[in-house]
């Protein structure tokens, strides 16, 4: 009897999980379907589920109007660039915190995390003014720099937790074997932390890809990323639902695919310290 009950509960939970997943996925699915409808069908008052007339013209229109490829290129440079730069700074920082901690290391880590609790608008004016004075407005490198700074706390935190799992003996052995700091990090620490570094990289690329606040407020055309690209479709010339959907689909497709293919790595990385 106990067994039968547990099977029922399991079926119940499975159904619930599927229901929640579908609920969460529904808007994305709707966006995907709408992207292939005509503008008229998209706003029809008795909405259709599958496109009655399957069309690709939205995609062409979107590229003609706003140059998808330029924005996509910017997005790639911006998200990958800021993450790589963050790793270059984050790896040594996390090394210091994990393997040469001082009394204040914990405080520094908490402080870094606390900066993530602050609403970004809080520093909009100073950052904007600094960017204006340094002529960084609407430049890809300026944007990449600010994204690096924004994600750095997360990068350092993630690397720190992975590094904590590595036995310090091995690094000490490297020191005894004549490795200076650079060799210790590059030849011993980093190869051992590859899974952790890979998931840090993936997560931060995704976070940067989806970053909308700074990319929209600090750009005006040249350096815009895909988030700026989508937002340019949302309001001014009235609502073009089908084109907006096509733009959104184009913007999320690359990251969705990347997430799909690296699912295992991501899950493993995110639960690394927790489950072991």
């Amino acid at each position: 009897m106990a067994r039968a009950a547990s099977i029922q509960t399991r079926i119940g939970f499975t159904a619930l999980a599927w229901a929640i997943a579908l609920l969460l996925f529904a808007p994305i699915l709707w966006t995907i379907l709408t992207a292939f409808k005509t503008e008229a069908e998209a706003i029809a008052t008795s909405p259709t589920f599958l496109p009655r007339e399957f069309t690709l013209e939205n995609f062409g229109a979107v590229q003609d109007r706003s140059d998808y490829f330029k924005h996509a290129f910017n997005s790639i440079i911006f998200s990958v660039g800021s993450t790589l730069l963050g790793l270059v700074i984050g790896v040594p920082a996390a090394w210091a915190m994990a393997f040469a901690p001082t009394k204040r290391t914990k405080d520094v880590l908490m402080w870094m995390l606390s900066t993530k609790m602050m609403p970004a608008v809080g520093v909009l004016i100073p950052i904007y003014l600094i960017f204006r004075d340094l002529r960084l407005l609407d430049t890809l490198h300026g944007l990449t720099l600010i994204m690096t700074l924004i994600n750095l706390p997360i990068i350092i935190w993630m690397l720190y937790t992975y590094f904590k799992e590595i036995p310090v003996d091995i690094l000490e052995a490297a020191r005894m074997d004549g490795a200076e700091l650079y060799n210790e990090i590059v030849h011993v620490l980093v190869p051992m932390a590859v899974p952790g570094i890979a998931s840090t990289l993936l997560l931060n690329v995704i976070l940067a890809w989806n970053e909308a606040f700074w990319t929209i407020t600090l750009t005006s055309g040249k350096a815009g990323t895909l988030t700026a690209f989508i937002s340019s479709f949302s309001s001014p010339q009235g609502l073009f639902l089908a084109k907006l959907s096509a733009a959104s689909l184009l913007a999320i497709a690359p990251i969705l695919l990347m997430g799909w293919f690296s699912q295992k790595q991501l899950v493993r990385g995110l639960t690394f310290g927790a489950v072991k």
């Binding site: 003996d169 052995a173 020191r175 005894m176 074997d177 200076e180 051992m192």
Partner: protein
């Protein structure tokens, strides 16, 4: 090459003083063992020499050169860790080659030295494996291989055998001793196993609470312990101690008799201590008797393996008068 000299080395972690003040001179080519109870600071002292910890004060000379502030990579010492500390992402070959790569040795030299070390340590057929595919003993050999290829000024071992089973330990103990005889390089070996200490060392440093209790050859320590702590620590089974009036008869505040320095009788003898056997541990070659001596407490006696005593037997113990150790109230040998 390979003399190590510490003078007034002190180490504190925060407020806690672990090593109050140690001065030591280790000669070139010597095999020195640090022994002492757990937590007495053996590893800390070794790590100070290695450069893995900074001294709070004092100086460390290697071959006469002040290395107190030098990072471990510059000291030219090799260390074998209790956990082996092999690089898990490298093959055995790359593990052994790592110190040579760090020293920027040419590839042919690296290959040749790695092959040679592997042959010496019976690792030739495992060179392409990862450490995780090796047994404990093989891992330890790789760790030793990694240490010898760089031809260090001295080897530092921190309880390298404590993760191995008893039989393998004895083998590895011999291998390390043999290695020392072959290489004639200075070795410092940390252990809390006094059998390892006695069998391997040229000289032993007995540590207690961060202080050197005695520094001498194994037989010195056994025959002329400087104080009660060393007397109790060196020798297995432990020395028996007696204080009170019985010790006063010998003009001491305490006396010690080693388990092997008793003569044993089953009939009353003048001046003998009378007792009852509690447990008799028969090892075959030896028998250890744990005897409850009237008025003096539990004592351990070593006798040959043919003796058949059992629980509750009456025995009479006579300590060999020439081998009674006497200690004053502060525990120093008289």
């Amino acid at each position: 090459m390979g003399s190590i000299s510490l003078s007034h080395v002190k180490k504190s972690f925060g407020e806690v003083q672990i090593i109050p003040d140690i001065s030591l001179d280790i000669k070139e080519g010597e095999f020195v063992v640090f022994v002492g109870p757990s937590g007495c600071g053996k590893s800390t002292l070794l790590r100070l020499i290695a450069g893995l910890e900074d001294t709070t004060s004092g100086t460390i000379l290697l071959d006469g050169v002040d290395m107190t502030k030098a990072p471990p990579a510059r000291r030219g010492l090799a260390m074998v860790f209790q956990s082996y500390a092999l690089y898990p992402h490298m093959t055995v070959r790359d593990n052994i080659a790592f110190p040579l790569k760090m020293a920027k040795a040419p590839k042919e030299v690296i290959d040749q030295k790695v092959e040679y070390a592997a042959r010496t340590l019976n690792l030739s057929s495992y060179l392409d494996r990862r450490p995780r595919a090796l047994s404990g003993g093989q891992r330890q050999r790789v760790a030793i291989g990694r240490a010898i290829v760089r031809e260090p000024k001295a080897f530092l071992f921190d309880e390298p055998l404590s993760n191995l089973d008893a039989a393998l330990r004895v083998n590895m103990r011999l291998e390390i001793t043999e290695l020392h005889q072959q290489l004639k390089t200075t070795m410092i070996y940390v252990t809390h196993d006094q059998v390892e200490a006695m069998t391997m060392a040229d000289r032993i440093v007995v540590l207690n609470a961060g202080r050197v209790e005695q520094f001498g050859t194994p037989l010195d320590l056994y025959k002329k312990p400087a104080n009660r702590f060393v007397a109790g620590f060196i020798g297995s089974p432990r020395m028996n101690f007696v204080d009170g009036p019985e010790a006063a008869r010998y003009n001491a505040s305490a006396i010690g008799v080693r388990p092997e320095h008793f003569s044993l009788a089953t009939t009353p003898m003048p001046g003998a201590w009378k007792g009852k056997v509690g447990v008799a541990e028969q090892l075959g070659s030896d028998t250890f008797l744990h005897v409850h001596v009237d008025g003096l407490g539990l004592m351990t006696i070593r006798t040959d393996g043919d003796q058949t005593f059992g629980h509750g037997d009456d025995v009479y113990l006579t300590p060999d008068p020439a081998r009674i150790y006497r200690f004053d109230a502060a525990g120093l040998a008289l």
